[in-house]
């Protein structure tokens, strides 16, 4: 939506490897994207596609060893996050960039009260005193829609329900007025009616506070409802990137297409068998000098095994990492003909 806005976060050629005794796993391979002010960028992929590792890498949250992060730069507010010193990173993490994790039970500390955990970033990052921090914490709980906020500050995480805990997580992430909020599967552990509440809340907060959000999920339905632009990840790479309506109306990567048809949707439910992507998602133990989707692709051709396709822009802010979009390849040679 806010097209042409300046990017607040710019990631170029990010790579992450995990080295272990049983070999190297190439978890993130040359991932580039940007995030514009005030937009909501959706990141979709299955488990192991590298979507969480990408975000953890750019925040320097992965322990090294085993993780080796290279590439870049990752530009945020004039810093390259990959080379920034620890003091800068501390200011960024939880300060300028907020983070909401999937499971609110394991990411909240059970032995501290919720109030303490919301006040911690306020005191560390913003240097607020005890009283000011407490007042701000109450404000934040009000903001995320927790009733009776003042009293609940003293409660512990186990006294909250799943949806309420996720609201607390969001309050913590919002504590220092972040410019960017990264939400990693924030509704996956929640029931649908609670998920709907949290999605409404996030949309509302984003409008109110004007921050940019990266929303990671495996649920295409959630993405369809909230995102402005979408990145589809597979095998540690971005295979497709487009504005949300364009992506759902005109998916071009075979993986995206397959993913959209495996989900039974309202319009054509019960019509026939579900389309299946045969095989398993890849574990990349070698540097991918081939298309990561080649073993499961219905329209694979010879070059897919020899080269890793770059991202071809195809108009409307849409790009796709597939040789089928290569203008140099004769469309008549392509199995299945042109995209229809």
């Amino acid at each position: 939506m806010p097209d042409g806005g300046l990017p607040v976060l710019d990631v170029r050629g990010l790579r992450t490897m995990f080295r272990s005794r049983s070999g190297t796993v190439h978890a993130v391979n040359a991932v580039s994207f940007d995030l514009k002010a005030g937009e909501l960028l959706g990141v979709v992929g299955e488990s192991g596609s590298g979507k969480s590792v990408t975000m953890m890498s750019l925040l320097g949250l992965l322990p090294s060893p085993p993780a080796v992060v290279s590439g870049g730069p990752v530009t945020f507010e004039g810093h390259n996050l990959l080379t920034a010193d620890e003091a800068t990173m501390r200011k960024v993490r939880g300060g300028r960039i907020g983070f909401v994790f999937q499971d609110p039970m394991t990411s909240l500390n059970p032995v501290f009260s919720v109030g303490f955990q919301i006040m911690e970033p306020l005191r560390k990052h913003m240097g607020l005193g005890r009283r000011a921090a407490r007042a701000r914490a109450k404000e934040l709980l009000d903001l995320v829609g927790i009733p009776d906020a003042a009293r609940r500050l003293g409660d512990y995480p186990h006294q909250f329900s799943g949806g309420m805990r996720q609201r607390v997580m969001i309050a913590i992430a919002l504590a220092c007025d972040p410019k960017v909020l990264i939400a990693d599967e924030p509704t996956t552990a929640l029931d649908v009616t609670i998920q709907a509440q949290i999605i409404e809340l996030m949309k509302d907060l984003q409008q109110k506070l004007g921050m940019a959000v990266i929303w990671i999920t495996h649920d295409l339905g959630v993405i369809a409802g909230i995102a402005d632009r979408v990145i589809v990840m597979y095998g540690g790479q971005i295979v497709e990137h487009a504005p949300v309506r364009e992506l759902f109306a005109n998916p071009r990567h075979p993986y995206t297409r397959a993913l959209l048809t495996t989900v039974p949707s309202g319009a054509h439910a019960r019509a026939r068998r579900l389309t299946v992507i045969e095989g398993q998602p890849p574990i990349l133990t070698e540097s991918p000098d081939f298309c990561a989707f080649k073993d499961r692709c219905p329209v694979v051709f010879e070059i897919c095994a020899r080269m890793n396709p770059g991202r071809y822009p195809i108009g409307n802010g849409h790009d796709v990492a597939c040789f089928r979009a290569d203008p140099g390849l004769n469309p008549d040679l392509i199995p299945g003909g042109a995209h229809a």
Binding site: Q197, H218, R245
Partner: protein, 364 residues
């Protein structure tokens, strides 16, 4: 609750209750009960798939397990092919076990890591049949073929398999004794989207091949829509609505079903922005202390005075459609309007005659 036209019921459940006692205090006295399943009734017709949906904690898994008598039930009746199994002692149930099997949610936790695939699938055969060793071996391999596992993997251990393949092992084990009835407890919840479709297709193929009847428990409403013939929606231990799948999704009648369906994200941005969403406020109350009257009255956008005092009974409002809601009770409705059409609008219904006043204002 007879759905006469649909065929013979294989399983009949009536007023099933499953309460877990709460003990507290120094003497560990019983001080209350978690009403996990609080009086549910339905039939399973031979060859159908009944979807049992609801949010976590609504009692759907407990219901599934209670029906197989994996828990001792508090009260009610369960009949399998006309035989009462709700009160049978476990020793006699054992003889019936081959007919009713279960596929569990977490294929990691429900397979013994120290048993090979062949041993896992063969175990029910060891327990319940007198086949010779070679017959068993042959049966195991046939089952592996049926669920799409390569025969060469028979000697491998569960850790060597992916989530989807492990679920296939669990399904093969459930099929080993040629059951009639399988309870699938969230069989795809732990799997990736692309793998979910594989397992659902497999379950459908097997149903056709072996004439199975499924109770398919899931919180994934779009997948249930795909696989189920009829759907029962549970909320806080009760079935609030039971209807043929296409009818239920096309025209949900209970306010909870409506809210639940409108909360399901559709993979279609245009539809999502037009969609009129009913966002429920608050959380599900505790099953240890359910609200007085209708269980849904604390969150219902159309709650009326009567809902807080009287528990709505499940009624058949259209052929095969059972709903437990006062809004659909003709006695509560203005004269001349039919219940079903009256309640399908999103707007709160007009007050009934007499003392009942609608209470609005739960929406923001």
């Amino acid at each position: 609750m007879l759905d006469g036209t649909l065929g013979e019921p294989l399983v009949e459940v009536r007023d099933l209750m499953l309460h877990f006692p709460i003990y507290s205090g120094l003497l560990r006295r019983k001080t209350g009960a978690i009403k996990a399943v609080d009086g549910i009734s339905f039939d399973l017709i031979e060859g159908e798939t009944l979807g049992l949906v609801g949010e976590s904690g609504c009692g759907k898994s407990s219901a599934g397990r209670a029906i197989l008598r994996l828990y001792d039930i508090t009260s009610g009746s369960i009949r399998l092919k006309g035989q009462e199994i709700g009160t049978l002692p476990q020793s006699q149930l054992r003889k019936l076990r081959p007919q009713m099997q279960m596929v569990f949610q977490d294929p990691q936790a429900s397979l013994n890591p120290r048993m090979t695939v062949a041993q896992t699938i063969q175990e029910p055969l060891d327990e319940h049949t007198r086949l010779s060793r070679s017959e068993k071996r042959e049966k195991v391999l046939t089952l592996m073929d049926a669920v799409g596992l390569n025969r060469r993997f028979a000697g491998r251990y569960p850790h060597a398999f992916s989530g989807g393949q492990r679920q296939r092992i669990g399904i093969a084990r459930a099929l080993a004794l040629n059951p009639k009835f399988i309870v699938c407890d969230e069989p795809i919840a732990a799997l990736d989207v692309s793998i979910q479709a594989q397992v659902v297709n497999l379950l459908e193929d097997l149903q056709e091949k072996f004439g199975l009847t499924y109770l398919f428990i899931s919180h994934d409403l779009s997948m249930v829509r795909h696989i189920a013939t009829r759907v029962a929606v549970m909320y806080l231990g009760r079935i609030v609505e039971l209807a043929p799948a296409d009818r239920l999704y096309a025209e949900p009648l209970h306010p909870y079903t409506r809210a639940l369906l409108s909360a399901v994200p559709e993979p279609d941005p245009a539809a999502m922005s037009d969609k009129k969403r009913v966002i429920l406020q608050g959380d599900v109350p505790s099953p240890a202390n359910p609200p007085k009257g209708c269980n849904f009255s604390t969150r219902c956008p159309q709650v009326m005075g009567v809902c807080r005092s009287h528990d709505p009974k499940s009624r058949e409002v259209a052929p095969g459609r059972h709903v437990a809601c006062h809004l659909l009770d003709p006695a509560m409705m203005p004269a001349g309007s039919t219940a079903a059409t009256e309640a399908t609008g999103i707007e709160p219904s007009r007050p009934g005659p007499g003392t009942i006043e609608p209470q609005q204002g739960r929406r923001p």
